[in-house]
Amino acid sequence: MVEADREVMKAEMMKSYIWLQTTDGSIQEVEQEIATFCPLICQEMHSGLGTSKTYPISLPDRVNPAMLSLIIDYCRFHQAPGRSNKERKVYDEKFIRMDSNRLCELTSAADSLQLKPLVDLTSRALARIIEGKSPEEIRGIFHIPDDLTEEEKLEPLKNTMEDSRIRLLNRLYARKRKELKERENLKNAQNEEECVDNRPLDDLLSFINGGNGDSKGATASKSKKKNRKKKDQQKNAHEDNNPSNNISFCNAIDNDKKKTNGHDPSCPKNKLHGLSFPILSQLKLQDTRDINFAPEHEFDDSDLDDEIDPAMKEKIDREVEDFARRLNSDWPERMQEILCLGQEKRHIPMSMNGNDASVKLNPKIKMRSEVPKHSSFI
């Protein structure tokens, strides 16, 4: 028996040990054959390190003592020659049962030790965790910060029809498109009316020019001229309601004969009917036609000379398209606003249009020869 014991002891002494040091300073002793399962440790050993306590192999940062013990367990099992494939698989399945954070740490540690089979195993486990889960769930598991903007998230990678937000966007977009189309149609319709309304308005305007008295008639046109100068239409409404301002405008009208012709095709109807109710018509205009009107008022210059001929019509169409395109390109930002501001949706379109109008207006003012009143489609 003593002989046998001695044999066992001899065998034990024959085993050589490697010294490994983790970043926290602790040094561990591991059987050589197990440790050399890791290519990195093997490499370091060949360059002479690790044979004694004073010269241990320094392991990379990502290997902390807990991970090291796990990895050593793994190596101990797998480097033993007599295991069947099934046994190894069963062991692997049990081995990776840990929470996801630990799994990440383990993957990182195995990678730094270049232990490829373990890296593959842990990667597969992580992939299995991710598979089939929604982004929210994945973020929860791995504590990934949710720092993408809504817009970035809505990039059309996944099947977009699923997302309710995309559907909402599409709906809003479709609605806006429809409105655009309607406006365009209306504008075309108004072109016909223009020819009809021209003369009576001329009469009216000359009538206005002729007398200051008919303030009611004047207010309507004056208020429109006011709109031209103001960016904010709501502001205009307030000012138009103020009679004192109207008078000053009257003078302005007198000065510029051309400007007095600043009718706009759609407003004459209202004007004629709403002469006795300037405020009402004003409001009406702002409600439904404000978009069209605001810029139109400015372009009274060419109104007199205006005759709808095919060339003009083409220009009109082109400008409609141009503006529609411009709107479309602004659209994502607009939608961002809409989604963010939420409740203020109702007001936004108005100011949007106002802004757009003003943006469009300024360059247009100078170009008198063009057909300004038709460029105001929004």
Binding site: L126, H143, L148
Partner: protein
């Protein structure tokens, strides 16, 4: 535990590991990771393996919209992808061949594509565009239901190691040229070809799998071949052709494959090999042949049995043998010669390494039983022999078993397993 203060170490993993993880995910999930966080937005775009299938987009009843959806998905993924693409797989039951696929192939040919697998819907066979032949880095090509017409100046895929063609329309010259112009070809699989007379010249070929109706297969230059699996179907034309053939198919096929380790033959393979006579040819010895699987041998046909014998006798290191008979019994065409095997079989021949034998679909025919007797009597190292009677043998099982028990066994360790209920 404060969730917010916990670190996101997952996103901090090295890029190579993240790529490995993304590669192990289905493509749809991998692409979805782009909405996880700003760090993850474009992580997936550098993966080098793109595997597209019908699960990439949600299922739908309307086939046209499903196809459209899948195509859009593929387009978008390709467009957003950044970097080389080494593996591209598209297997879809619904996606039909269309010009867009040609465009994808062009895109891939510029991205160092190495492995390409293409299997589309059954409707219309895809015609491979010319850009396919300029994918010089291809190491693996797998095409199903395709039309191939390599241009005249095509010099071959110089890096191709693995070629699989299933239901592919290609002229005989083209296929032979394709095979011989791929110097590194190691594995060749041809399935469901009609009426080919094939001559294979592939100096590095190691694995050969053939399935279909072949008029003739000639392995002219395949010295390194290690494993062969052939499933030979028969049509009337081919049967006629066989009858008129004078050349010895056995020599043509197995004449130059000294390093063969595994041979697997199905359906009419042994019949094919039995055509022609081996008169005058030197016997070929397969020193490395360890495993033979021959299915559907007709034990009524003497010629086929001779082929079987020839193979078995000339494989001194045979370890595993699996044989199955045909279940179609017809009255014996030739009278049974009880000394048949003794005449054909060299007396001192022993299967010294044969350890496992499996005989299935045994119908109890005389030649069959005699063959089993031969094996039992000459295999000193036999460990297990499994006999499975054919399902058509209803009453003869007991007789069969009685005969089997009488056979002398050269190996004292031999276990005879008689499967009563075939699976």
């Amino acid at each position: 535990m404060d969730h917010d203060s916990r670190l996101d170490i997952f996103s901090d993993l090295p890029h190579s590991i993240i790529e490995t993880i993304l590669t192990k995910l289905p493509l749809r999930d991998a692409v979805r990771t782009s909405v996880l966080s700003s760090r993850w937005r474009y992580e997936w775009t550098t993966i080098t393996q793109l595997v597209f299938d019908d699960k990439c987009v949600p299922p739908s009843d309307d086939r046209a919209s499903f196809e459209n959806c899948l195509m859009n998905f593929i387009f978008r993924v390709l467009f957003l992808h950044d970097g080389p693409i080494h593996k591209f797989t598209l297997i879809s039951q619904f996606l039909q061949s269309c010009p867009d696929i040609d465009q994808w192939l062009l895109f891939l040919s510029r991205r160092d594509i190495k492995e390409l697998v293409l299997q589309l819907a059954d409707d219309e066979w895809f015609r491979a565009p010319s850009c396919l032949y300029s994918c010089h880095k291809l190491t693996r090509l797998e095409l199903v239901r395709c039309e191939l017409e390599p241009p005249l100046k095509f010099k071959g895929f110089l890096n191709l190691k693995n070629l699989t063609l299933q239901q592919v329309v290609i002229s005989q010259n083209d296929i032979e040229h394709l095979i011989s112009s791929c110097p590194l070809l190691e594995s060749l699989t041809l399935s469901y070809f009609d009426g080919l007379e094939l001559t294979i010249r592939a100096p590095n070929l190691k694995f050969l799998i053939l399935e279909g109706e072949f008029k003739e297969i000639c392995l002219e230059n395949t010295p390194l071949l290690m494993a062969i699996s052939v499933a030979m179907y028969m049509t009337d034309d081919i049967a006629e052709h066989f009858e008129q053939s004078l050349s010895c198919n056995f020599d043509k096929f197995l004449g130059g494959v000294q390093r063969l380790q595994r041979l697997s033959g199905h359906i009419y393979f042994t019949k094919y090999l039995s055509i022609g006579s081996g008169r005058g040819s030197t016997p070929i010895v397969f020193h490395n042949l360890k495993c033979i699987d021959l299915y559907q041998i007709s034990f009524e046909d003497i010629k086929e049995v001779l082929v079987l014998l020839r193979l078995v006798v000339n494989s001194p290191n045979l370890e595993e043998l699996q044989v199955s008979g045909t279940s179609i019994t017809s009255p014996a065409t030739e009278s049974y010669d009880p000394d048949f095997y003794e005449n054909q079989f060299p007396a001192d021949c022993k299967f010294k390494h044969l350890r496992t034998v499996k005989i299935t679909d045994v119908t109890g025919m005389p030649l069959e039983m005699a063959f089993i007797k031969l094996l039992l009597g000459h295999s000193p190292a036999l460990e297990v022999i499994t006999i499975t009677p054919s399902v058509y043998v209803a009453d003869g099982k007991l007789n069969m078993l009685v005969s089997l028990l009488r056979f002398r066994r050269a190996s004292s360790l031999a276990e005879l397993i008689f499967i009563q209920e075939p699976l």
